[in-house]
Symmetry: C2
Subunit: 392 residues, 2 copies
C-alpha cells in the first residue's frame, strides 16, 4: 500500500534528534543532546495555584471549546510585553499556537506552494526543515557567520532566486547559539522591505539573554515579516503554547489554517498561563533562569577549555541553551557520538541541522538541562574520546 | 502581496460555523448553532483534584517536553477501553492528537497528494472539508440515507474513481445525527478490504449513545482503516485531546507528520486526563451525560412536533449532540437564519455541510448545550419564522 501515501512523506526524515532523545533519556546517560529547559526552573507551585484559581472561577470556560485566535487576555499580555521592549503589536495580530513549532506548520500552509524556495540558515533548526519540508519547498541555505548570516549570499539569493520565505533565528540560534548583530538586523529589515521575500523570525530564546546588550527583533525594521514566540522557555514546554505575530491579511489566512488544523489551542492551559504571568513576577522568574543557564554555560566553557584538545572550536553564546562545537576538519561527529555513547554521554551530531552540504565535524551541546557534576564528567569523557579519535 | 500566499488558501472558506458561533456566543442569543458539549457535564472538581495530584507528584514531567506519540499510560487506557468493547488495539497503534481535528490534518498530510479523490458523506462535518481541503483533493460526496451512506454509490465510486480516502462518521453523524446499521458497517469493512481506499472512521460521539443498541466500529471489520477518537465529548473539549488508531506503517508516518506539526500534544493535560479517567468512575460520568442529552433531545423533538408546521422533516438520533431538519423543498435555511437571528435564535444552515450540491432547505440543531427553557422558546420562535416564510 506504499503508493497510497502522499509524496511529501518520502521527503521527510524522522527527527534524528528525537530518536537520539529516546536513547539519551535513559537515567544513566549524561545527555547534552536534548533542547530541554531545566525542569528545576518550572514554576510548579505557582502553576498549581493558578490552575486551582482558574478551575474554581472559570472552569466551565476553561474546559469548553473556544475561539481559534486564542484567549484574548493572553494575546493582550503578549502585546504588552512587546510594548515594554519597544515593539508595537496589536493583540489582533497575535495568534496563539501549540508551541512555536505549530507556527512553522501554519506559516508553511499559508505560504508554500510545491517547489517554492525557502531560505534557511546553515546550520538551522532541524524541526523547521521538517515543518516546512512537509510542503515540499526547495531549501537554500546561507552560511551563518559569528554575527548572523552572510549578507552577500542572502542578498544575492533574495534578489535572484525569488524565495517566498527567509527563516531566521536571530537570538542564540538553535543549534549554534549565534546572535545577529544590530547592523545585520537593520540590513535584513531593509532587504525584505525592498523585496517580496517574507522574513520568518523565530524567537524562542530571546528572553534568555544572560549577558551582552538586548537587541531588538528584526521586526522592528520591517513589516514584511512574521514573528514567532514561545512560552516553552519562559514558563514550560509541556503545555505547548506559543504565538505568531503577523499583519492583518496574513493573520486572516493563518487563522483559517489554524481552524482547519485543530480548531484552537488548549484553552485550559492558555488561561492558566495568563493567570500565572499576571499574578506572579515573571521578571524574577526570568532572572532566576538566566542566572542558572549562565552559570552552566560558563562552567561548560571552562570544562571545554580544560578537557577538549587544541583545534576544537566552539561558540560562546550570550544566551539561550546551546553551544556549537567544530571539531578538527577530518573528524566525524557521528563517529564521536558512537564512541561517547559507549561511555553514556550523548550530544547531537551537527549533520542533523543542515538542509544541504552537512558539515560532519560539528556538534551541538545543550547546557540548560544539566548540572556542574554532569557537565564536568560528560565534557571530560568527550574530551578523552576526541583525543582518541585524533590518534586513530 | 496576494501572489505570495499558497494556492491552497484560496480554496478554503473560513468556517461559516465558527463565524456564526461568534455571533451566537452573545449572552442574549438562544443558540442551537454550536457543536458544544454542555458545560454542566464538565468534571471541574475532579479535574482540579487530578491537576493538583499531577503537579504535586509529577510536575516536572508534566511540564517538560515529551514524546510525539503521547503519554504511554493514556494510550494504554484508550487501548483498554477499546478492549472492553471488543476491539483489540495495541497502545503502539495509538497516537495522541490535539483533538480529533488534528487527526484529520495528520491523515491528510500522510495520504493526500494534490487532486487525490476523497469520498465524504453528503452532508458531512464541515471542518473535515477544511482540514482535507488544505491539501487540495477532489471531494466526491455520497448521499447519506437513514442507515448510512448509499452503498451502491459508495461501491461504484470506490471501484471506479480510485479514491484515496473515504471519510465517515458512523455514529450520530455531524451534522445529521444519523447512525450506520450493523449491516452497512460490515459491507463497508468488506468493501475497503477488497480495495485500496482507506476508511477514515471518525467517532467523536460513539460513547454518547443514549438509546438503541451499541454497534461496533467499522474497524472491527477491516484493517484498511484509520479510527479517530476524542476526549472532547467524554471529558471536555477545551483541553484539545483526541487520538488516532492506525496500523504500524501508517502510524510511523503519522508520528513523523505530528513531530513536524507541533512536536507533541499538551503533556500536562494528557497526564491530568489519564489521572481523572483512572481515579474516577467514567461510566457514571457518561451515564450522567447520556441522561442529560437524551432528555434534551426528547424535549427538542417534542417541541418540534408542537411548533414546527407540517412538511418539516427531522432525524431522531439515538445519541450524539445534533439533529437535522429538512424544511419544505423551496425554503432557504439561510433566509430562515436571518429571520430567526432578528429574534435572537441561532442554528447552522445546512449548506455549510456540503462539499457540492448544497441542499439549501436543511439545517442543524444542537441539543446538548441547551436547556428546556431555551429549547421551548427557541423552537417556538423558529416554528413561527418557518410558518411566516411559508406564507411569503
Amino acid at each position: 500500500m506504499d503508493n497510497l501515501y502522499a509524496d511529501r512523506m518520502s521527503k521527510i526524515p524522522r527527527s534524528f534528534v528525537r530518536e537520539i532523545l529516546k536513547v539519551a533519556d535513559e537515567p544513566d546517560i549524561i545527555s547534552f543532546a536534548g533542547g530541554l529547559p531545566n525542569p528545576d526552573t518550572f514554576p510548579q507551585k505557582e502553576f498549581a495555584e493558578s490552575t486551582s484559581f482558574i478551575l474554581e472561577n472559570s472552569g466551565a470556560e476553561a474546559l469548553q471549546y473556544s475561539t481559534t485566535e486564542g484567549y484574548e487576555p493572553l494575546r493582550s499580555l503578549v502585546s504588552e510585553r512587546y510594548a515594554k521592549n519597544g515593539l508595537s503589536v496589536d493583540p489582533e495580530n497575535i495568534l496563539i499556537t501549540n508551541g512555536s513549532q505549530q507556527g512553522l506548520d501554519l506559516v508553511a500552509k499559508v505560504f508554500l506552494n510545491h517547489e517554492d524556495t525557502v531560505l534557511v540558515e546553515k546550520p538551522t533548526y532541524l524541526a523547521a526543515l521538517q515543518a516546512f519540508g512537509l510542503f515540499e519547498p526547495k531549501f537554500k541555505s546561507i552560511p551563518l557567520l559569528n554575527d548572523g548570516v552572510d549578507m552577500d549570499v542572502l542578498r544575492s539569493m533574495v534578489e535572484n532566486d525569488d524565495p517566498k520565505l527567509f527563516y531566521s533565528i536571530p537570538n542564540f540560534q538553535n543549534p549554534t547559539g549565534i546572535s545577529y548583530s544590530l547592523e545585520k538586523r537593520k540590513l535584513i529589515g531593509e532587504l525584505v522591505n525592498q523585496n517580496e521575500t517574507v522574513l520568518v523570525e523565530d524567537n524562542p530564546y530571546g528572553e534568555i539573554r544572560f549577558m551582552g546588550e538586548n537587541l531588538p527583533p528584526i521586526k522592528r525594521f520591517t513589516n514584511n515579516s512574521i514573528l514567532l514566540g514561545s512560552f516553552s522557555k519562559v514558563v514550560a514546554p509541556g503545555i505547548r503554547l506559543g504565538w505568531i505575530v503577523a499583519e492583518d491579511e496574513t493573520m486572516h489566512h493563518l487563522v483559517t489554517a489554524k481552524q482547519a488544523s485543530d480548531l484552537h489551542s488548549n484553552f485550559f492551559s492558555q488561561m492558566i498561563v495568563h493567570h500565572y504571568l499576571t499574578k506572579y513576577d515573571v521578571e524574577d522568574h526570568l532572572t532566576m533562569i538566566r542566572e542558572m543557564y549562565k552559570n552552566q554555560r560558563d562552567f561548560m566553557l571552562e570544562m571545554i577549555k580544560r578537557y577538549f584538545p587544541e583545534g576544537v572550536k566552539y561558540t560562546e553564546p550570550e544566551g539561550g541553551m546551546f553551544l556549537w562545537v567544530t571539531l578538527p576538519e577530518d573528524m566525524d561527529a557521528m563517529e564521536l557520538f558512537e564512541r561517547t555513547m559507549e561511555d553514556d554521554v550523548a550530544f547531537v551530531p551537527g549533520e542533523a541541522f543542515y538542509s544541504e552540504d552537512s558539515q560532519k565535524n560539528t556538534l551541538r551541546l545543550n547546557f540548560s538541562n544539566s548540572n556542574n557534576t554532569k557537565i564536568e564528567e560528560g565534557i571530560k569523557k568527550m574530551g578523552k574520546a576526541i583525543k582518541e579519535l585524533q590518534c586513530n
